[in-house]
Symmetry: C2
Subunit: 158 residues, 2 copies
Amino acid sequence: MSVFFSRSCEYGIQAVLYLASREPESPIHLRDISNALRIPHHFLSKIMQTLERDGVVISHKGANGGFELGRDAKEISIINIVRAIDGEAFLNGCVLGFPSCDDTAPCPVHTLWKKSKENISVMLEKSSVGELSAELGGKLEFIKSLYSHNNPTKEINV
Amino acid sequence: MSVFFSRSCEYGIQAVLYLASREPESPIHLRDISNALRIPHHFLSKIMQTLERDGVVISHKGANGGFELGRDAKEISIINIVRAIDGEAFLNGCVLGFPSCDDTAPCPVHTLWKKSKENISVMLEKSSVGELSAELGGKLEFIKSLYSHNNPTKEINV
DNA sequence: ATAAATTTAGACTTTATTGTCTAAATCAAT
DNA sequence: ATTGATTTAGACAATAAAGTCTAAATTTAT
């Protein structure tokens, strides 16, 4: 697991990037996403529901259903996904776990950690998933390549 | 819990900082540490054993036993504690969980994350626990103050 | 209307982490 | 030697996170 996000959150970010990479197709079936990203189908289902409630994605039920981005890809940042899934507390709190650590009673690494947090916030806020997927040359090639070393052809979670 | 370290790791860092802050006293009883830091006694015991195996601390059994730093406080960095407890993988791997993300096949935030990682590495490597506890005006006052809002006097884990 | 495809819901299982409890081993002081 | 204080060991429990399974609800297409 990432040092930073829960696995649910990782999956959510991956799925939204995948949707962005396939625009303007839509909607995309959950099974397409879970197959492409090797994410357990029903697990991803719950994550997508969370993102739906938060407006990050829109779901369409029934035959020919699926998911699409909730708004323009340029208007969705990673932070929106993280907030929806891991909540607000992910960048609050002392990195060493001291309960009352703050600017007035800082823990030993408080100042250093603050700088790192700023960098991370920039990473999460400033780039939209539209930009992120476009930078990679668009489309879904980058995601496919990220799995090519492991399971070249096999589909799972069927 | 921290966004970054396991709770075990948080406790380990806190405990080592506490030892550094009380130098040159030694050894310090486990119960002193767990009381001061509100850490479950036997849980901390296992963490200290892990740190002992890694040479970060030295234990003394029996009456008048306790723990002391395994070497000069200037020679111990947070990274040493993290490596001992959370292992090597904590800063490896893709922050989005893509299994083959690397410089040649980067995920969308690979480059941005790399910069953040560098900042965090500096934080963890460059400052020794000696410096960190000294910067705070020495001694353990900073740690006491970090709990003063909660349980002013009560001792737990007895 | 019916059937097929899909999302939604919720119970359940598995696994990892965190925390608790009891007892044994070790050492210092008397 | 005995006692008391302490670390060490390991079984166990509680909680949270991750993953699986079955069935219901919804929608499109025929």
